[in-house]
């Protein structure tokens, strides 16, 4: 049996609209957040979970962490049904909601950690070892005695992550953990997650809008849209289908004008140079460069694949999300 098994998970929310003029009753619409979702995750996997806003990602996390009860379908995490055996289940999982806080606002974060130790009944020795391991990996030593409210966003997120891992969960749900973080913090967080996964075999389900997170961390990605699973597999396989265009930026010596380019190439002026968006299937890169060289003396030229966000946007468009 797989570590996580979800079968036919369905969850519907009722949304009440404001009463329109002349109508007696409020209109209610039912929104299907999840529409018979199936998937399995093996122990130790690092799975990325993406989809546009409102696709049902957070709902999945809330179902699997026992906060919500589904309208239909079943799920088992390590043999337990999260919403039925809630208290047993949650002892073994950790959750980070990127936009909320679990630590107390006014007291030093170490006190919040102590409280979590008592809530999860972690033996003192395990707690000490785990805490020193986590504070070192997340570089938290110097803030342990600082109240949460005095920490920066990046420091806070690291502290939140530490709090969610203190009881040594086998499964970690991360709901947009890198939201609002700067580049350094993001990289540090990714390194940490990789380490944690390698060292303790923690299974991780990562929800994010940051494709770099997925690319750096996840061997497998699931795409969700309108409550249904649209793709499940490796990220490169997903991107291949949409990764059809390349971008060349170049700058000439002096004022050289661009030559006439074949149809299918989109040109734009960018600063002192040009940006050309083309498809290698239509015009081979070497041929295009040769054409560009004919027009003048090229000072710089870079060729690069399309930004991963553009690919995902193209994919969402195609899937009509």
């Amino acid at each position: 049996m797989a570590f996580i098994e979800a079968e036919g998970l369905t969850k519907t929310f009722t949304v009440r609209k404001k009463r329109e003029k002349g109508r007696l009753l409020r209109e209610k619409t039912r929104v299907k957040a999840l529409d018979s979702l199936n998937f399995t995750i093996e122990k130790g996997e690092l799975v990325g979970y993406i989809g546009p806003n409102g696709a049902g990602k957070s709902t999945t996390v809330k179902l699997l962490s026992g906060i919500l009860t589904p309208d239909g379908g079943t799920a088992r995490v390590n043999g337990l049904v999260p919403w039925e055996q809630r208290r047993q289940h949650v002892k073994r999982i950790g959750v980070v909601f990127g936009q909320r806080s679990q630590l107390w606002w006014d007291v030093p974060i170490l006190d919040s950690f102590d409280l979590l130790r008592d809530i999860y009944q972690v033996p003192e020795a395990d707690y000490r070892r785990r805490l020193s391991e986590l504070t070192e990996a997340l570089r938290l030593e110097e803030f342990l005695r600082t109240p949460l409210r005095l920490l920066s966003l990046g420091q806070r997120m690291r502290a939140e992550l530490c709090g969610s891992l203190l009881h040594g969960p086998e499964l970690l749900f991360l709901d947009e953990p890198t939201i609002g973080l700067d580049a350094v913090s993001k990289l540090a967080l990714r390194d940490f997650l990789k380490q944690e996964n390698a060292r303790h075999g923690t299974t991780v389900l990562l929800t994010t809008h940051d494709m770099e997170d997925i690319a750096a961390l996840c061997s497998r990605v699931m795409v969700l849209g309108h409550g249904r699973k649209l793709f499940d597999g490796a990220l490169p396989d997903l991107l291949q289908r949409y990764d059809t265009r390349r971008i060349i930026t170049l700058r000439y010596d002096g004022d050289a004008a661009l030559p006439d380019l074949p149809a299918g190439c989109a040109c734009a002026e960018e600063g002192e140079g040009y940006r050309i968006d083309y498809s290698p299937d239509q015009i081979p890169t070497a041929k295009l460069i040769a054409l560009l060289q004919g027009a003048g003396n090229i000072r710089e030229l870079t060729a690069q694949p399309q930004n991963i966000d553009h690919l995902i946007a193209a994919m969402y468009r195609e899937m009509d999300l």
């Binding site: 208290r87 047993q88 990127g98 107390w104 007291v107 409280l115 008592d118």
Partner: protein
């Protein structure tokens, strides 16, 4: 069990961080105490009531000193429910009703102890008939403390019931304002319940609000004789049980049909 003690300890630290709020609260409550006592003295000067003025003054000071026990005060908990931060508490291996009950209890107990200690000292130093008098007897003092504890349990259960209600309505300000008003009037904070018409008192003293402070204070000032204590305590405990039961089942029901929106 340990987790509940830790909640207490953290709450204590938090209260100590806001020493300014404690001082502000004490000054405010002392001010109100002085105003109310002067008011009742003026009233008594023209038309004395059956209850002696010394007892009224004691009543007012005890009400003001333990003011923190009455109004709902855990705005952080409210915000958690409103903004969805409660999601974290829902994925803890804890009974939520119990966890929040202890949180509220810690806040009310520590918050009122910190404020009551300096205020009671101050009120004792005031002249007789203006300040706080001694309890009628030593056994009465013991009974007072016992009933005060029962009152504390009662007010916490009341507040936790409001929290359960907030789970449903999300915004609690309306309900809260109404309940606070009821609490102020029916607990004897604005006008001592002992000054209401006798026929009213028969009903009001049975309501949960009167259990919080009015009952213990009446024992302190001798309005309730020692022989009345068992009956009073029984009413208090009945309310505690009823409110805990109602709150717990409401929490359980709302937890089932909970929705956490956005993200």
């Amino acid at each position: 069990m340990n987790a509940y003690f830790t909640v207490f300890r953290m709450r204590w630290k938090m209260e100590l961080q806001y020493r300014g709020a404690v001082i502000g609260g004490v000054v405010c409550q002392v001010f109100f105490g002085l105003i109310l006592v002067s008011l009742y003295r003026a009233l008594y000067a023209s038309k004395p009531q059956t209850m002696p003025i010394e007892a009224v003054a004691s009543y007012v000071w005890l009400q003001q000193a333990f003011f923190r026990m009455q109004l709902s005060s855990d705005s952080e908990l409210m915000d958690k429910i409103r903004t969805g931060g409660i999601a974290y508490d829902l994925c803890r291996p804890l009974d939520l009703y119990g966890y929040y009950y202890v949180r509220i209890l810690a806040q009310k107990l520590l918050g009122s102890l910190l404020r009551a200690a300096p205020m009671l000292v101050f009120a004792f130093l005031l002249p007789r008939g203006v300040g706080l008098g001694l309890p009628v007897s030593l056994p009465a003092l013991a009974a007072f403390l016992m009933c005060l504890t029962a009152g504390l349990l009662c007010t916490c259960a009341l507040e936790n019931l409001t929290m359960a209600f907030t789970m449903r309505t999300l915004d609690s300000r309306g309900v809260q304002a109404m309940l606070n008003l009821l609490m102020m009037i029916l607990s004897g904070n604005v006008l001592p319940l002992t000054l209401y018409p006798d026929s009213w008192q028969k009903v009001i003293t049975l309501l949960p609000y009167a259990q919080v402070l009015d009952t213990p204070i009446r024992i302190y000032t001798g309005q309730y004789a020692l022989a009345d204590v068992p009956r009073a305590l029984l009413i208090q405990l009945a309310w505690v049980l009823l409110l805990v039961w109602a709150g717990e089942s409401m929490w359980r029901r709302h937890q089932k049909r909970l929705i956490i929106q956005g993200g």
